[in-house]
Amino acid sequence: MNRGIVGSVMALGLLTGCSHDRPVDPQGRHTVIWLYPVDVGTKAMTEKLVAQFEMENPDIHIDVRAVPGSQYQTKLKTLVAAGEPPDVFVCGDVFFAYLKPFLSDLTDLARRDAKEIDLDDFYPAVQKAMQPGGHIYFMPQWFNVSLLYYNRRIFDASHEPYPRADWTWSDYAGAAKRLTKNGVWGSTVTTGWWGEWLTLVHGAGGDLFDPAITHATLDSPAGIQGLTFYRDTIKDGFAPPPGMGPATGFASDKVAMDYGGHVGLWATYRQIPTLDWEIEALPKGPSGRRGGEISLTALGIAKATPERESAWRFLKFMSSKESIRAHVDRGYVAIRRSVAAEHRDANLPPRNRAAVEIALNSAEPIPSSKDFVEIALDLVQPEIDRMLTEDVSPAEVTKKATEAANAFLRATNGAAK
C-alpha cells in the first residue's frame, strides 16, 4: 500500500517535473509572476486585460505583484540578486542594457509565432528598437517619442503661425520669444533629467558618448552648442528658470510650447477642456538632426523562469491588437500600425498624427550602456542644474561633466557597455 502511494507520488513528481518546475495551483493553472509598476492611471485597464487573458487562457494565472514605480528598479534588481526574479517584468527602456543578462532571448519563440505576433504591424522604428542586436528580448505595449507640443489658443491670440515640421531651432526660438508676453511663456525647460538637453545635443550633432561608448564626448563643440541653446531658452527670457514657471507646466494653459514632451501626458491633456493643444515634429538643429529619443514600454521574460511558455503567451496577449486597442482607449499612442489605422481616438487631440511618424523616423535610441542612467543623472545633470541656476558657462559645464563621466568609466574599467 505504502509502496504504491510512494510510487504514485514519485511518478506524479516526475511528470510535473518534466513539464514545469513550479507546481500548478489548486485549480491546475500555471502561475506567471508579473512585477507590475503601479500606475493609478492604468490600474483599471491592466486589471481588465489580466482578467481577459486569464479568461482566454484558463490554464494560466497571472500573479500581479504591484510595486510603486519609483522603487521598481530597486525591487527588480533585489529579486534578481536573490535568485527569485519575477517571470515577467518591464524592460525595453533605459534599463535594458543592465537587465539584458537576466532576460530570456525570445527570438526563437517570436520566429515560431511570427504570424501571430506580426512584427511588420509595428512601426519600422519600433521594430528596430525592439530588436537590439537582431534579437527579441521583449514585446512592447506603447512607446514614447519626443515631440513639440503647442497651445493653439496662445498661437491664435498672437496671430502666430503654428509650428511646422520643417522648423529649425531659430524658427522655434523666434516664435517662443514673440509669444512670451502677458504672463504667457513662449516655452518651458524640462529639468531634472536628460529628456531635453540630450535631444538638443543630438540636434547640434553631438552626443554623450563616442559610438563605442568608451568615453564621454559632451565637451565637443556640438555638445557645447546644444547646451548653449538649452540654457539660452532661459537667458533669452522665453522659458522660465527652474521652478519659476507654472507648476503644471504646459497643462497650465500659460505655456505656448513644450519641447520634447512625453506622449504619456496625452491622457492628462485630454482631460483639460480649455487646453487647445496640438503636436508637431521637433525642429531640426544645426546638424539637420531633430535629436528626439524613442523609448519602448515593454515586457520581458526572466532567463531563469520556469514558466517561459506561459509567460510568452501573456506577452503576446499584452502586445496583441486587443491590448493595444485598450492602451489607445486609455490615451496612449498606438504602437501597431493597424490599430492606428482604425482611428479609434481620431476625434481627440492631437490631430496631427503624421508628426508622430516623422518623429519616429528621426528618433534616436538612448545609448545602450548599463551606466547611462547613472552618468546622465548623477554626473552630468548636477552640472547642467548649475548652468541653469548659476552663472556657469556651457563650456565649463561640459568640461566638468565629461571629466566626471570619464573618471567614472575608468573606475568601472571602461565597461560602460
Binding site: K77, G243, P382, A407
Partner: protein, 298 residues
C-alpha cells in the same frame, strides 16, 4: 559567581549575543569586506583592493560635495534645533493653564513620519505656489526659488529640520525640572534676576542634557536621509538636487547602493562615515570635560 550562576548568565545573554553577531557584527564585517570589492549584487564580488576608497576620495565628483552638504547641514540644523527645543521647553516649563495640552501639541510634529513632513515642506517651499513665498509676497518680499535654487535648497532643509525638535524638547524639559529649586530660591534671595539665575543655576545644571542632545543631534544630522529623500522626490529637482545642493552623505550612499548597485563603493562610504562619526563623538566627549557640569566633581 558560582559555575551554575555563570552558566545561567551565559544562557540568558546568548539570544542577544547571537542576534548581535548574526545581525550586526556579521553584516558589518561583510560590508567591510565588500568595501574592497566591485560588487553589483547580481555578479560575484571581485576584489579591487583600495580602489573604491581611492575613487571616492580622489575622483568621485559627488563624494566631497555630499560631505560638505552634510557638514553644513549639521552646523546649521543642530544649533537651530537645540535652540528651538530649549526655548520651547523653557516656555512649557512655566506654570501656565493647559500646560499638558501645550506639551502634547508641541510634540506632535515629531510623531509625523519624516517622509510625510518632507512632502509637506516641499510644498511649503515650492517657489511659485508655495505657502512660504505667497506669505512673503503679501509683505512685499520676493521669496527665493527655495527647492530649485542650489543656494537656497539646503537652507530650506535646515529650516525644515527645526520642525523635529520635539524629542530634544522633552529631554530639555526633564532637565529643567531637575534644576535645583533651592539654588534658584537662594539666588533670588541674593537679588539675582531671571537672566542671571538662568546662567548661574539653570544652565550649569542643564549642560549634561545639552551634551546628550548635542551628541545625538550631531549623529542624527550626519545620518540625515529620509526627509531629504522625500523632499527631493517631491520638489521636481530630483533626489539630492538641484546641482547636488541637498545630496546628503547617506543619500549619496543610498543612491550608489540601491539605485546603481555599486555595493563596494557604498560599503566604503559606510565605513568612512562610521570612522568620522566615531571621531567626532570621541572629540565631543573629550571637549565635554571643559564645559559640562559634573555634580560629583563640580
Amino acid at each position: 559567581m558560582s559555575r551554575t550562576q555563570a552558566r545561567w548568565c551565559w544562557l540568558m545573554i546568548a539570544p542577544a549575543t547571537v542576534g548581535l553577531l548574526l545581525f550586526t557584527i556579521g553584516p558589518m564585517l561583510t560590508s567591510l569586506w565588500l568595501s574592497f570589492t566591485d560588487y553589483d549584487v547580481v555578479s560575484s564580488p571581485r576584489f579591487v583592493g583600495t580602489a573604491n576608497y581611492r575613487y571616492l576620495l580622489t575622483a568621485d565628483p559627488s563624494f566631497w560635495v555630499s560631505v560638505k552638504v552634510t557638514a553644513m547641514y549639521a552646523l546649521g540644523s543642530v544649533p537651530l534645533g537645540l535652540f528651538a527645543a530649549l526655548a520651547v521647553a523653557m516656555l512649557l516649563n512655566l506654570d501656565v493653564p493647559f500646560r499638558g495640552a501645550y506639551r502634547t501639541l508641541y510634540y506632535l510634529p515629531t510623531l509625523l513620519p519624516a517622509t510625510v513632513s518632507g512632502v509637506l515642506w516641499a510644498w511649503i517651499f515650492q517657489p511659485t505656489d508655495g505657502a512660504l513665498n505667497q506669505m512673503l509676497a503679501k509683505v512685499g518680499v520676493h521669496g527665493p526659488a527655495w527647492t530649485q535654487s542650489p543656494s537656497w535648497a539646503l537652507p530650506a532643509l535646515i529650516l525644515m529640520s527645526a520642525w523635529g525638535y520635539g524629542g530634544a524638547m522633552v529631554i530639555f524639559l526633564a532637565g529643567l525640572q531637575e534644576s535645583p529649586r533651592a539654588l534658584h530660591e537662594a539666588a533670588a534671595l541674593d537679588g539675582a534676576g531671571q537672566w542671571r539665575r538662568f546662567w548661574v543655576v539653570t544652565w550649569p545644571a542643564l549642560t549634561p542634557t545639552v551634551f546628550f542632545n548635542l551628541t545625538m543631534g550631531l549623529i542624527g544630522a550626519m545620518k540625515a536621509f529620509d526627509q531629504a529623500f522625500a523632499f527631493g522626490q517631491s520638489n521636481g529637482a530630483g533626489v539630492g538636487g538641484p546641482a547636488r545642493a541637498t545630496l546628503f552623505y547617506v543619500l549619496n550612499l543610498y543612491t550608489k547602493a540601491f539605485e546603481h548597485f555599486h555595493m563596494g563603493l557604498a560599503s566604503a562610504m559606510a565605513w568612512l562615515l562610521f570612522a568620522v562619526i566615531a571621531a567626532i563623538t570621541f572629540l565631543n566627549f573629550r571637549l565635554s570635560k571643559r564645559w559640562v557640569y559634573d555634580e560629583a566633581t563640580g
